[in-house]
Amino acid sequence: MLNTVFAQETGGFDIAGQFLDASSGLSGATISSLIIVGIICLLSFYVAIRARFADPLKKPKGILFLFEVLINFFDGMVEEFMGKEYRGFGGFLLAVISYLFIAFIWGLTGLPSPMVYLATPLSLGLFTFVFIHANAIRFNKWRYFKRYIEPIPVFLPINLVSMWAPLLSLTMRLFGNALAGWTLMTLVYGAFNGIGEGAIRFIVNGIPQDMGIGSFIAPIITPVLHAYFDLFSGLIQTTVFLFLSMIFIANEGPQEGDIEELSVKGGR
C-alpha cells in the first residue's frame, strides 16, 4: 500500500528512484524542489538588492538585520571550526543548509517532500563529498593519491571502498530520517482517516465511497507528530549535516598542530 501512495506522491517513482511509469513527466518532488530553490533565490536576490542600496552607516533594519546576523554567525562558525583559510565556505554552507532545512520541513505544506526521494539527499551529500576531495587535492597536491596505497599497496581496493563512506553516511542519515518521518505520518493519517470514516459510517448509513469524510480526527492529533518528525528532526539533522560537513572538509587541510610544528622547526 505504501509503495502505491509513494508512487502517487512522487509522480511515478518508487523509493529507490526507479521509474514505475515512464509516461509521467516531472515528478512532484522535483517540482517541490524547484519551488524551494526559487524561494531561496528570490529571497537572496531581494536581500542583495536591498543591501546594495542600503546606507552602510546606519543600523540595518528588518530582513537586512536578520541576514547580517545569520551571515556573521556562519562566517564566525566556519572560522572557529575550520580555520581561517576556509572563510569562503560560509556562503556555500548557508546555501546548502537553507535548502536542506526548507526541504525537510516542506512536508508541512502538504506538497510532496523532496527529501523522501533518494536523489535529493544524495546530491546534498555529493556536495560535501566533492569538496572533501577537492580540498584534499588543493592542500596535498600529488600526495593526495598516496592515501590510496597506504600503508601498503595491497590495501588499494579496501581504500577505494572506504573512500565512499562519508558520502553514504551523509546521504543515508538524511534519507533515513526523512523517510522514517514520512512513513510514520502516512500510516498515522491513514489510520485516523479510517477510524473517523468507520465512526461516521457506524452512525449514518448510505454515504457513497471515497468522500474523505473521515479526515476530521487526524488534524487534532498529528500536529505534535509533525512538530517532532518535521521541525525537530529537520533542525537536528541540519545541524548534524552542517557539523559533519565542516569537520570532514577541514580534516583534509593542514591541522593546527602541523603548522605549529613546522613553525617551530623553521624557527630553529
Binding site: D14, I15, A16, S169, M172, G176, N177, L179, A180
Partner: protein, 71 residues
C-alpha cells in the same frame, strides 16, 4: 514472508543504538548535575551526539525499508 523476516533481522541493529543513546544521555546528565553551569553547552552537545548515535538505527531502518519495498 522471507522479505519480512529479513527486514526483522535487519532492524535488530536498533538495539545497540538504543543502548548507545542511553549511554550518551546518562553521561551528559551526570555531567550536568555535577556542573550545572555547563548545562546549555552539554545539552546542545548531547542532542548532536544522540543524532549521531541514532545514525546506526537509521541505517538499519533504511535497510529494512529497502528490503521490503525494493528487493
Amino acid at each position: 514472508m522471507t522479505n519480512a523476516l529479513a527486514a526483522a533481522i535487519a532492524i535488530l541493529a536498533v538495539m545497540p543504538s538504543a543502548f548507545g543513546e542511553a549511554w550518551v544521555c546518562t553521561k551528559s546528565i551526570d555531567g550536568m548535575s555535577r556542573n550545572p553551569e555547563m548545562y546549555s553547552k552539554l545539552r546542545a552537545n548531547m542532542i548532536v551526539a544522540c543524532a549521531l548515535v541514532e545514525t546506526t538505527a537509521i541505517y538499519a531502518l533504511v535497510t529494512a525499508i529497502l528490503i521490503i519495498f525494493v528487493a
